[in-house]
Symmetry: C2
Subunit: 568 residues, 2 copies
């Protein structure tokens, strides 16, 4: 491709509201362009990268035996009503009416559509397993679209759905997808970890997220220093926390006057004990489909509430902060809430508190705490995993130290089990002639998101640094001065030769200053630039490697041979 | 691909409301499935065909120097307001609000988005020409979706937009696209004609439609028997019609009492002249953005009004029938409307009537006609091309006879000129440093529609007949009885060998009766079936060609060699 005819409008202007390198560089280099909040056009450079990712995803999915389909983007709302998600999914689900006032949604994911597709067509266990996938544009009406392609509203996703006759076969496919996703990300040249994850609105019995490690990642993940345990902070587990400080003395319950105690720290200081032995209450307003109510979460004074865990514990659609007046209306005493004698309100305790002895808790009375409280005689269902795992907590698997890192989610695989098939009455006959609901898995990978992730993971202060697999062009031949006829001729010759070798090459034949061309090379981030300039008089050209901007002088006779070695 | 693992759920049930072979067979054979009115899922078979068409379109577009992009499907309404089409486009434009109550549309076409993309980035004639295209899903909220993929709401289209410094360069690109589209359709193996077309809602100064000839085509086209003239009936022109019958005698205007004359035929009989010498009035209600009004179209008694031409003549958004009460309210005298003395109403005359002499027209008075009327002294703007060209009319280019045929539109190329660039202030500096609006072309080809068109053009009573270019698989190896171990083994061997040769092969290894497998082969329409059955005892297999269902016995030793000759 000749640059003089190629549409790659680069700019020096940083898009407003852009803070992440991938957002800034992809827009500045003319890979993508914003057309509305969370809506992007892919220009030729961006489209080329997108196609490369798409091709690798397709190749690996096909190799794994999955079959590609294409489901309608516009989806009848009735399917979502059938599964029960129409009301549950929230405002991210874009709903609209057509000219005949029928209800539709723009598909953000396609569990329902896929179940509907195979329902009544796959009727026997003999037709299973089956794995169908698509690589299509999706829409989620994000509350706050930001970070360019990382949190946009219209995005390209590969979503696959598998159907099985039993849990074991689902597990086999889940493991196969684990390998497939790992291979895809390896081929894309990304540094990733598969982590334990929360299943969120998709639901199901287990899931793994694929995280690319990157400084600007939105997600916190915990990695064990010692073993292969890795988890999203929303789902991370730890070995039960212990404390080597002394336990409070009181071994029977008694009420203490604790005036002006406003924080856990003050409380611990007051009793001269470690915060570990106190229990704090965090009150949230839980939103359900048809109601909202206050819920109290009790955790150790030294821990923090993990909101996703808390939300899962009380099965709410969403958790919101509660203000003091709401607490008072509910009969709670802010600052002095404890589970003893607490009535008419839902509450949960962190599971590490079960059977703990001699704890200090609020007395549900202003300026009073209870001391010497044992966490016993409570309903088992109240104990849930509620706390945020932190750096230096211990690994549940091996006891090793956990470290915190930042990651960007690029894939998520789920064991859905029978959630959707049961809700939508999608059945088959098993070996014994019995009717069963399908066991399902679903597997998503963010194709357009990966364009940005690749740059988050690989850039410098000048711009993008693409690896050879993803680069829109492998090499950029820069003619320093197009009025130099010799250089122009030689460059065109090399251009032709490289093209004949099947190498993707851009020939910068624009009537621009050398500096402009170099800046574009660095900003757009092609792996190599071959500069054809004055050195040609001595039969020399310069090869620049984008990654480290290292330079190498090559004799004109050896150019093709040298590049073949590096690139092919 | 092994059929036992492949998802191609065929059925004997004809989808309700389906009348066209492509609709019936593509659904029955499991290529597509309807999920809502005008909404289709593509199953693996359909997706494979779609990908083949897409790949050929992309290859030819790239070869012609166009560059692929991907514009956001969800488009801000503001772009459509800027061009003025937001109100004009009608209900086919699906409008909706996002969670923040901002207005959006689902892109049915992307002139606006594409102009916005290059605006302020292409600023000089030196950056021109530029041709950007995309192959993406579009949505049109059709009033009456029908005919399967032929008139659906969500569809895959290749839409390209070119930008030029002047009309000449636009014409060069238009001609290049003419050739490109012709080559695409040739490669797809379709019998097509490029015809003169109406530009419709897209607008512009000229356009050509690509029509695949097919019995069930929605469009009427007129083809010259003698030269290459071809046109959609909406745009067809003819040599001025003549009549060798005698002209009415009266050579001065006079009023005749014509009671009980209710039709043109009665009128002609009454005066004993040919209908050619009468002028009839057709009254329509023309709908505009902010008003609607009656418009009268005068044409020869022997002609019919062509509605699209009439609509273009009065520049209405839509034409509707007017009822008698509306005519009376407007002061018209139904059955006796003539242009002489007609006041306070818009009217147009067919251009062939200009300067006609001694005509008979309505007198605008009940039971009276005027005779001996010359069509003179009328404003030039009132004369428009209004009549429907018919079979046996004469070709405007060569005078040959025109023949009528049925076609299905698969592509449409437009010279848009400066319509959109002017409306959206998209300018560049020309060679003289003057600001000019871009000259634009746009070029669409219906990718998902072509899947159906291929079957409309090629099927029999048993099902689809795919050519080798489009077939989802080239050959279907049918094992008559999978319990026959020898046959099973040999079939798998041939399957492997053909795959190694890069031939797309389906191995029907299902535990089904032979009849079921043959029916599926005929319904799905792969070019070849290789039946491996009892003949294997004599080292013989049977090759069936789908097109004519001809059979050929082949010795097992020669199978690969024979197939290589036929397929590669």
């Amino acid at each position: 491709m000749k640059f003089s005819q190629f549409y790659a409008p680069s700019t020096k202007e940083t898009p407003k509201d852009a803070s992440l390198p991938s957002h800034i560089f992809l827009v500045r280099a003319g890979f993508i362009e914003q057309i509305g909040s969370g809506l992007y056009n892919f220009l030729p450079l961006g489209k080329r990268v997108l196609d490369k990712i798409r091709a690798i995803v397709k190749e690996e999915m096909d190799k794994a035996g999955a079959q590609e389909v294409n489901l309608s983007f516009v989806t009848p709302a009735s399917l979502w009503q059938e599964s029960g998600r129409y009301n549950v999914f929230g405002k991210e689900l874009l709903r609209f009416k057509d000219r005949k006032e029928n209800d539709f949604v723009l598909g953000p994911t396609h569990e329902e559509a896929m179940v509907s597709l195979v329902k009544n067509k796959i009727t026997s266990y003999k037709q299973l397993p089956l794995h169908l996938y698509q690589i299509t544009w999706k829409f989620r009406d994000e509350a706050r679209p930001r970070f360019g392609l990382l949190r946009c509203r219209e995005f390209l996703m590969k979503d696959g759905y598998s159907f099985h006759k039993n849990e074991e076969d689902l597990t086999r496919e889940f493991d196969l997808m684990y390998e497939t996703y790992s291979r895809i990300l390896q081929r894309l040249g990304l540094n990733f970890r598969a982590v334990e994850a929360d299943s969120g609105a998709i639901g199901g019995s287990g899931s793994k997220e694929f995280m690319v490690l990157a400084k600007n990642g939105e997600d916190d993940i915990l990695l064990c220093e010692n073993c292969d345990y890795a988890a999203n902070i929303e789902a991370a587990k730890r070995a039960k926390k212990t404390c080597n400080k002394e336990r409070p003395e009181a071994n029977f319950a008694s009420k203490f006057h604790t005036p002006n105690i406003k924080s856990i720290k003050e409380l611990a200081d007051f009793f001269r004990i470690d915060e570990f032995y106190t229990i704090k209450a965090v009150v949230k307003k839980a939103i359900y489909e048809n109601e909202s109510k206050l819920v109290v979460f009790f955790i150790r004074g030294c821990d923090d509430l993990q909101e996703v865990k808390a939300q899962n514990a009380c099965k709410a659609l969403e958790l919101m902060d509660a203000d003091e007046s709401e607490l008072l209306n509910a009969g709670l005493v802010p600052g002095f809430i404890g589970f003893v004698g607490l009535k008419n309100i839902d509450f949960y305790l962190d599971k590490e508190l079960e059977n703990e002895k001699q704890m200090i808790i609020g007395a549900n009375e202003k300026d009073y705490h209870l001391v010497g409280i044992d966490v016993v005689n409570l309903n088992q269902d109240r104990f849930k995993d509620l706390v945020e795992v932190k750096e230096n907590d211990c690994c549940l698997k091996c006891g090793g130290k956990l470290r915190k890192s930042k990651g960007i989610e690029v894939g998520h695989i789920f064991k859905l089990g029978q959630k959707y098939s049961k809700a939508m009455n999608a059945h088959f006959l098993d070996e014994n002639g019995k009717t069963q609901a399908f066991y399902m898995g679903c597997y998503g990978i963010g194709v357009s998101r990966l364009v940005a992730v690749a740059i988050e993971a690989s850039h410098d202060e000048k711009g993008c640094i693409w690896n050879q697999t993803l680069a829109p062009f492998t090499i950029d031949i820069i003619i320093s001065n197009i009025k130099d006829e010799e250089a122009f001729k030689f460059a065109n010759q090399i251009y032709q030769q490289l093209q004949d070798l099947g190498i993707e090459v851009l020939l910068d034949d624009r009537n621009e200053r050398f500096g402009v061309k170099m800046n574009d090379f660095e900003l757009m981030g092609f792996p190599y630039a071959l500069v054809i300039g004055k050195g040609l008089q001595n039969n020399e050209v310069e090869l620049i490697q984008r990654e480290n901007l290292s330079k190498e002088i090559i004799k004109t006779d050896h150019v093709i041979e040298n590049l073949k070695k590096k690139i092919l």
